[in-house]
């Protein structure tokens, strides 16, 4: 059992709180990705778990044992660094065994076996005699991971391990890491600023901002039901459209009223607490649809003017203005739309969100969490 439990974990640098009271549970054998913008405290959190930083307050438990004040070598963890942290004067094999010889009582035969196993798993057997300067970036990262593997720790900590690789290799290594975790089932905490890595790798994803946990959820749930405006804006590329609306009670139910559109809120009828409030309306660019000609005059469609047209290859991104606000819309790539056109748009009924503009908290999702949003109908 190797769970990690952080309770009210806090780290201050002078008066600045880098980590501000984090409560987080990492389940046994889970792959938890911690994601957030630069300076959100994600690396500090990982370094606190590793023991490279001392916590100002709070506790860290690994496998039920309080390790808050234990030195790193007693925590049974292995860490992979962004810049690999390989000793340049040692061969790959020496790099992998160096740490083990210093603290453990393993026989050299056992160490050799483990190195051979790890090297076979990672496909670096023929690289073991090379020094880091004779290895490519991807090979160095494999050696760095191999170094963590040979220790057979109860917890893996990875600090942006793919950031120094080029885009193509990153995608490849991402898949390898995923495969590796399925084979080993070791509890893993993975820190990244890259939301694609977060979404693809994590069993669950923890979104951090300003040293606090914003939301911890499986990737799709994080995407479909963001707990607050920060998560809504951070996860998803391009970011969710957020525009101010006023909720009005109309005969047919609640309506989100904007100067450019008035859109009904499905299942919002019962929620009288929303009525007449000024809220932030959120909809993802792919959930804004081009309304067909037949829909013209339909009460739910509205007009928007295209100001920028960005062909992305697999999709066409349109920046449109409605009233004083901008809406980004993803449409099929070969749509005949040009800058300056006026188009008619409508929203996917199931994929609307409302946020409290003061606190940022989500107060309404069109789909309910027990029956996740239906697949987007093809445009």
């Amino acid at each position: 059992m190797s769970t990690i439990t952080l309770t009210d974990l806090t780290k201050h640098y002078d008066s600045i709180a880098a980590v501000d009271g984090i409560d987080l549970d990492v389940l046994d054998e889970e792959f938890l990705v911690v994601v957030g913008p630069s300076g959100c405290g994600k690396s500090t959190t990982l370094r606190l778990i590793a023991g490279l930083e001392d916590a100002t307050a709070g506790t860290i438990r690994i496998g039920g044992t309080d390790v808050t004040d234990s030195p790193p070598e007693d925590r049974d963890i292995a860490m992979v660094f962004q810049n690999y942290a390989l000793y340049p004067h040692m061969t790959a094999a020496e790099n992998m065994t160096f740490g083990m010889q210093s603290v453990t009582d393993y026989s050299s035969a056992e160490i050799e076996d483990r190195v051979a196993d790890a090297a076979a798993t990672l496909g670096i057997t023929e690289l073991l005699d090379r020094t880091p300067d004779a290895l490519s970036g991807g090979e160095r990262q494999r050696v760095a991971i191999g170094r963590a593997l040979v220790r057979e720790p109860s917890v893996f900590l990875l600090d942006e391990p793919l950031s120094n690789l080029d885009a193509k290799l990153r995608v490849h290594m991402r898949a390898e890491l995923s495969k590796l975790h399925r084979e080993l089932d070791t509890t893993t905490v993975y820190v990244t600023h890259d939301q694609t890595e977060a979404m693809t790798l994590g069993d669950r994803v923890a979104v951090l901002n300003d040293g606090t946990v914003q939301q911890v959820a499986p990737p799709q749930q994080l995407y479909d039901f963001p707990a607050n405006q920060f998560v809504a804006g951070f996860i998803g590329e391009p970011a969710m459209n957020l525009v101010p609306v006023r909720v009005r009670d109309r005969p047919r139910g609640l309506v989100a009223d904007h100067e450019g559109f008035a859109h009904p809120l499905p299942d919002g009828g019962s929620n009288s607490a929303l009525v007449d409030r000024r809220l932030t309306f959120g909809v993802r660019p792919e959930d804004v649809l081009l309304a067909g000609r037949s829909a013209t005059g339909h009460e739910e469609s509205f007009e928007a003017r295209v100001t920028v047209r960005e062909p992305l290859g697999e999709q066409l991104l349109l920046h449109c203005t409605i009233g004083d606000d901008e809406l980004q819309v993803k449409v099929q790539p070969r749509r005949d739309v040009s800058t300056g056109d006026t188009i008619r748009l409508c929203f996917d009924q199931q994929r609307l969100h409302l946020f409290d503009p003061e606190t940022g908290d989500a107060i309404y999702h069109a789909a309910s969490e027990d029956q996740p949003a239906k697949p987007t109908p093809s445009q």
Binding site: A50, G51, L52, P71, P72, E73, D74, I77, A78, M79, F81, N83, A85, Y87, P88, H89, F98, G99, M100, S102, V103, T131, P132, D133
Partner: protein
């Protein structure tokens, strides 16, 4: 291929800009250097006013002189002690400075301060501290231990005192480089060693020193030059080569032969031998270390 902009307009202008350096180097380095080689083949009188060609006679005289053999031997021993002593101490002090988290710059200033003293001032200062009758250190040493410090009369003690002062004087210079080298070691390598639970001594030996090897080679070479050439004022002010010939290092002996005994030709020959000795040592040091030092990557 980008073309480098030329910083001068014509070859003539380039030569003109080089001229001041060439004149200074020629007048104060190359000409005296060549003169020394020439003089080493002559016997001189009246400060070199009259010279007579003697060929290799000066060298033959030196190679057969027991006094010169002695001076040569103690100079090599002295250099070996000063070079290793300075390196080991500066690594020890540098590692402490690198590891300490509070007030490291204050410690650093304290550690390199002796380097800021002129050698003559340093020698006089330490003469007071280590003086056999008046020294503060001597007083407590003799009060606490049965040991008697009497380096005015004891040759081995005088040799030790000169070596200690020479090491003390050169420490600051070494510490600057050693601390700088420690600080260029990527922080993640230290963190990784911490995570692996690698102890301080093993960390120093297996991680830090190999990564600092280029700096250590440089310091070995600089310390060798220092030990052979720059220790003259220390010997002159502390022992004047005595007692007997105990601290009569090559650099001091050749000064005395030239300016006290007026044998400029003989002293020039000594100078040439010293130059060759240090040149060979430096060559060997650099070649030997090539296999160990990690440059780049």
């Amino acid at each position: 291929m980008s073309t480098q902009p030329t910083p001068f307009d014509s070859t003539l202008q380039a030569l003109g800009l080089l001229l001041p350096s060439v004149v200074v180097l020629g007048a104060f380095l190359y000409y005296p250097g060549l003169e020394t080689f020439r003089l080493s083949l002559y016997r001189t009188l009246f400060l070199g006013q009259q010279t007579a060609w003697v060929g290799a006679e000066n060298f033959v005289q030196l190679l057969t002189s027991t006094a010169y053999h002695h001076s040569f031997a103690i100079s090599v021993l002295f250099a070996a002690i000063v070079v290793t002593g300075t390196l080991l101490l500066s690594i020890a002090v540098g590692y402490l400075l690198f590891t300490v988290s509070v007030g490291s710059s204050a410690y650093l200033i304290a550690a390199i301060w002796p380097y800021a003293l002129p050698p003559a001032v340093a020698a006089i200062l330490l003469n007071f501290i280590l003086h056999p009758n008046l020294g503060v250190f001597t007083h407590y040493l003799e009060a606490v231990t049965p040991f008697t410090l009497d380096w005015f009369n004891s040759g081995p003690q005088a040799f030790t005192v000169v070596a200690v002062v020479a090491i003390w004087k050169q420490l600051g210079y070494n510490i600057i480089f050693v601390v700088a080298a420690f600080n260029t070691i990527p922080k993640t390598l230290t963190e990784r060693a911490t995570l692996d639970g690698v102890g301080h001594l093993r960390r120093l030996r297996s991680v830090y020193l190999p990564l600092m090897a280029p700096t250590l080679v440089f310091l070995t070479v600089m310390n060798t030059i220092y030990a052979f050439f720059s220790t003259f004022p220390i010997v002159d002010l502390l022992t004047s080569g005595g007692p007997g010939d105990a601290t009569n290092l090559l650099i001091f002996k050749l000064y005395r032969d030239a300016f006290e005994f007026n044998s400029l030709g003989l002293a020039s020959a000594e100078s040439v031998i010293l130059f060759a000795l240090v040149a060979v040592l430096m060559y060997v040091q650099i070649r030997v270390s090539e296999g160990y030092a990690q440059y780049g990557a």
